[in-house]
């Protein structure tokens, strides 16, 4: 059925956890040969991590024309060159900020179909399932073309191992750079922060959190859990949290295993961004809050009492 290229993402040189579910989705029934593509990362050191999931060759894409990381357009050309060189029919990656950008560039340049934010792939039949209307509906799309490109929503698919022995190699792409687009700087630090869209657990604060300082309450609990902290639109608009923390329709779409909503009413727009969470826990002082009608677990109580109690309980856990 054709070979699949997997666009692997790394963090400080290591394969990000969220790749494994994406690889699992791409593997499907296992009828496709999967090549892993790395841009910025060493094939030899990443091989071990991804061969467990069925990638049989890891290709490190480099360029003799210098740095790819700061040249989005050159990166695109290098990836396309690799796809052609290895006779790739399907390109699958993460629907992360970086993945979406690069895959859209490749799709536009090749005039190939692209579906991002997929939660299910059936490459053999060229059918994908993705969210529409911010998750209010799911759409099943048929993709037609010689090359198909799909972005998988992080955490949407449970990783399953399918071990094999992988080769590692370097592909030096011949690309030109006209310098019309350059990344000059990365601002702000991701150090110690768990990225919302890739987190297994998310704790979100709504407007009742009352101030930016009070988010420390959620941060403390989140640190114990390795969780990311999110905010509702109301909390962001009130200035309690930056927009990068917003979950919902005009913010991030997330798909964690556990979502703890603290002081959120449960608006349609918020649910649009997190309804694919596996388990939703709602904490609210208002027993009529709509969120209790669409969560798995509800806690009628004050977040300022429940969250610290949870933090304590988790500390007891770790000290045991």
């Amino acid at each position: 059925m054709g070979r699949t290229g997997i666009l692997l993402e790394t963090d400080n040189g290591e394969i990000k956890e969220s790749n494994y579910g994406m690889i699992t989705a791409a593997r499907g029934a296992g009828d496709t040969e999967m090549y892993g593509f790395l841009i910025g990362g060493e094939a030899a050191s990443c091989k071990e991590a991804v061969q467990k999931y069925g990638i049989c060759r890891v290709v490190e894409i480099t360029s003799d024309a210098g740095d790819l990381a700061t040249r989005p357009e050159k990166q695109t050309d290098a990836l396309i060159a690799a796809m052609k060189n290895y006779d790739i029919r399907f390109l699958v990656g993460l629907s992360s900020s970086r993945g979406r950008d690069l895959m859209a560039r490749v799709a536009a340049k090749l005039d190939a179909p692209l579906a991002v934010d997929c939660i299910d792939l059936n490459l053999e039949d060229q059918i994908v399932t993705k969210s529409h209307f911010s998750g209010k509906t799911l759409a099943r799309l048929k993709l037609c073309g010689d090359m198909l490109i799909c972005g998988v929503r992080p955490n949407a698919v449970e990783p399953q191992e399918a071990p094999c022995e992988a080769d590692a190699e370097v592909f030096a792409a011949q690309v030109k750079d006209d310098g019309r687009m350059v990344v000059t700087e990365a601002k702000g630090s991701a150090a110690g922060q768990v990225e919302l869209t890739e987190a297994n657990i998310i704790i979100t604060g709504g407007r009742p959190i009352g101030s930016a300082e009070n988010f420390s309450l959620l941060n403390e609990c989140a640190n114990l859990l390795g969780a990311a902290v999110g905010a509702s639109r109301a909390a962001v608009d009130a200035g309690y949290a930056p927009h990068s923390m917003q979950v919902g329709q005009t913010g991030k779409t997330v798909s964690p295993k556990l979502y703890i909503a603290c002081g959120l009413s449960g608006s349609v727009q918020h649910f649009a961004g997190m309804k694919t969470a596996k388990i939703i826990v709602a904490i609210n002082t208002d027993k009529h809050a709509p969120i209790f009608g669409k969560s798995d677990y509800g806690i009628l109580g004050d977040l300022f009492e429940i969250v610290p109690a949870l933090t304590e309980a988790l500390k007891d856990q770790t000290s045991q």
Binding site: A115, A139, K142, S244, K294, I306, A309, L310
Partner: protein, 254 residues
């Protein structure tokens, strides 16, 4: 400066979407300008107010999309172009091409804005295809923009609180998102004035685009069922916390 802003007429984000057939939904809900596009319109108006020029809004959509063009005109855009189609969901490649041809026929863009994605089909790619058709650079999820001579310096959010700074040649395509600015609410006189502004209608068929050249077909739309009533955890905060920890263990998140 000649600035084009591509907008889309979409169901209001608060609307409940009722699926009515394989790939159709009840379109009697309230429609609005795609929220991300508003940031593009606002930014374009601010640039023109400062540097002079003209803001033209362009959309590909059904005849009713004219309402979204009027909203942009009320915000301060000079005129609008509607490329008429029969469907709410058009393949992104075709939309990108239609936007490019409509803009090219109208004038020479110094800058093009779009939203980072539409909130209905969420394809997140039309601006890339538009940029490709023009052979212009493109950046998306843009939260800050500065124009310097023949270059645009943009900041884009790349997750984890990190922003990437990109310098690119103009003309270019910018995918706007929340954070770029605070879109204005039009005042009544502006809304009245907008009614007199020019909207050019173009038939999709007249753009010479092969409509069968699309890459994607919606086979089926399916409503996502809401969860039912929550199972309530009760007791003292301490007892509740203990129950939550048990849930976490059961779900193997800790």
């Amino acid at each position: 400066m000649q600035i084009y802003v591509c907008v889309k007429h979409v169901p209001d984000t608060a609307a409940n979407i009722k699926v009515t057939g394989d790939a159709a939904f009840d379109e009697s809900v309230k429609f609005v300008m795609n929220p991300y596009d508003e940031y593009g319109v606002e930014e374009a108006i601010r640039i023109v107010n400062k540097n002079g020029g003209e803001v033209v809004v362009v959309t590909v959509g059904k005849e009713t999309a004219v309402n979204t063009i009027r909203s942009a005109l009320a915000m301060g855009a000079a005129r609008g172009i509607l490329v008429k189609t029969e469907t709410q969901f058009l393949d992104s490649s075709l939309t990108g091409l239609a936007l490019q041809r409509a803009i090219r026929e109208d004038g020479a863009p110094d800058l093009i804005f779009t939203g980072k994605q539409s909130v209905d089909s969420e394809g997140s790619q039309t601006h890339y295809r538009l940029a490709q058709a023009f052979d212009m650079p493109v950046a998306t999820e843009v939260v800050a923009l500065e124009l310097k001579d023949d270059r645009a310096v943009v900041e884009r959010e790349i997750g984890g609180g990190v922003k990437e700074v990109i310098e690119m040649q103009t003309p270019c395509v910018i995918g706007a998102t929340k954070g770029l600015n605070e879109p204005r609410y039009p005042k009544l006189p502006d809304i009245l004035k907008a009614k007199k502004k020019e909207i050019k209608l173009i038939d999709m068929a007249d753009l010479g685009i092969d409509l069968s050249a699309g890459h994607t077909e919606i086979l089926e739309l399916e409503s996502v069922p809401e969860r039912g009533e929550a199972k309530m955890l009760s007791g003292s905060p301490r007892e509740i916390a203990a129950q939550l920890v048990t849930v976490m263990k059961e779900e193997t998140v800790i």
